[in-house]
Symmetry: C2
Subunit: 308 residues, 2 copies
């Protein structure tokens, strides 16, 4: 396989808030892109920009040398890769398939085995950096799978992200992403409990942020989400429902490894309470709503109903 | 009271890892400093540099216009301020007493009331920034108490720290510091669980840090303590036993406010397990040891016994 822009045909499945700008980077870099999305109208802007519509993942595989998938949940990944009219059904030896969904490491291993039996190289390559990172091409891409396949795709990774690291065998890209999400879970519970404490203690929240933002408490969450919380802005950077999915993946893997993660377990439960309050599509900072409810209070007067 | 360097007499009680470099800044700025410490030999270097030894907190109060205290636990604060031969017993109207220990907001309120009855202004002014911040004069100082007294001490604050914020009435400096510690607790559980997950999943930890250190997982803890953990370095920046004390203060205040903090409660319990394993004077990153033990594994082969 040659990664030259004129001769390498790229397939893309999943044109959501992350996938659409990522696919666009490849299109703009000069790669021919064939694509499929469960909801066709979301792919329309890319088609307009020159991408070719395909009627199924299988058809994308037939039209491409390398195929990227970035969909919602592990079940979606399984369906897109291994279902009827899935990628693997349209595959031929020598192709590379890459799943960029944050998904199950165990599933990544399974799919890599299925792919290998057909002579396909499978990579798991979830990303962090959010929709902003996707648009700006500054994502961190965490890759698991054969090193040769990883290297082969370097020109493509460079279009999509900034920090590109190969972590090891199939599943290890997913593991690395789950490490990231586990840290985020701790940072979120600390931030939301702390701000709620500050409110209940009668502190002026802006002054509190001034005192604590440069020291041992500092974090991306403190810098980026605390100001949103002070403005009573629960709009999503990252959906609660996706974060709950990710934490479930961590706990499932931890269970397999007989690893006790008491903090993450608790945070997932508390986010489940956010779901119970109708907050599935709020941003992860909405954790503060569930915490406030436990104490029969509110965050700055917000009720879940008023924002969900 | 005049804050002029020649005429303002400063008292200092507590010359530990934080207090000693802080008192030295005032001495080097030209203020005459009278001091007391429970363990006299720890004050010797400052005496050698020109500070005057006093035999009790009461004697420090008699010799000073402004007195700072920075000791270990709330009971120490109470003893130094209100005990026999305490600060208040040697006080006279018009003085300002400042407690910089991380201590109880409720105690700060009580002491401020006792002080006010004697015509003394009391400030609570805990700090963050650690021993490095104390030495470099870059601490964040969070001040509660009367605004006039806070303003009066501006020349002194400037010698001790960089970020100096008045938060409100007595106790509010302590509240602000406890907000900081609550965030740190979340950041620590996230970091330690995540690194343990990474180890158990067989990832190369340096590569993981490369992938996650710039994004949504980033924090002071990730930047500063993860590298120590990778080097199996559990030496203290901040003692486990002091962090447990601080979390106890948060939970006591939360109880008073009927505020539920499930995350912080759990983290305190897990740090109690670090104490159970003999880790009182290890650094807070030693949380990973207790977590590893829960899963019948170790962090990179470390046992608590080998490091406590």
């Amino acid at each position: 396989m040659n990664a030259d822009r004129s001769s390498l045909r790229v397939g893309w499945i999943g044109t959501g808030v992350m996938g659409a700008p990522m696919a666009r980077h490849l299109l703009e870099a000069g790669y021919p892109v064939s694509l499929f999305n469960r909801t066709p109208q979301r792919a329309a802007p890319l088609i307009k920009s020159g991408a070719t519509w395909c009627d199924s993942p299988s058809a994308v595989a037939e039209a491409s040398d390398v195929v990227f998938t970035i969909v919602g949940y592990p079940n979606d990944v399984r369906h897109v890769w291994a279902g009827e009219q899935g990628l693997l059904s349209g595959s031929r030896p020598g192709q590379v398939f890459v799943d960029m969904t944050t998904s199950s490491p165990q599933l990544a291993e399974e799919l890599a085995e299925s792919a290998a039996r057909r002579g396909i190289s499978a990579l798991d390559a979830p990303v962090s950096g959010g929709d902003v990172g996707a648009r700006q091409g500054t994502l961190s891409i965490m890759v698991g799978g054969k090193h040769a396949a990883f290297e082969q795709l370097q020109p493509l990774w460079q279009c999509l992200g900034k920090t590109i690291v190969h972590h090891g065998p199939p599943g290890s890209g997913q593991h690395a992403k789950l490490v990231n999400q586990t840290i985020v879970a701790g940072n979120m519970i600390g931030l939301c409990e702390a701000l709620l404490y500050a409110q209940q203690a009668g502190l002026q929240l802006e002054r509190v942020l001034q005192s604590i933002s440069q020291g041992a408490a500092s974090s991306w969450a403190l810098q980026n989400l605390a100001p949103r919380l002070l403005n009573m802005d629960l709009q999503p950077g990252f959906f609660v429902q996706h974060f709950v999915k990710d934490m479930g993946l961590v706990l499932a893997e931890a269970e397999r490894m007989r690893l006790v993660l008491p903090g993450l377990s608790l945070v997932k439960q508390l986010y489940t309470s956010v779901l119970s309050h109708g907050g599935a599509t709020l941003g992860t900072q909405a954790l503060v709503i569930a915490l406030a409810e436990m104490s029969n209070t509110t965050w700055r007067g917000l009720s879940p109903a008023s924002d969900a």
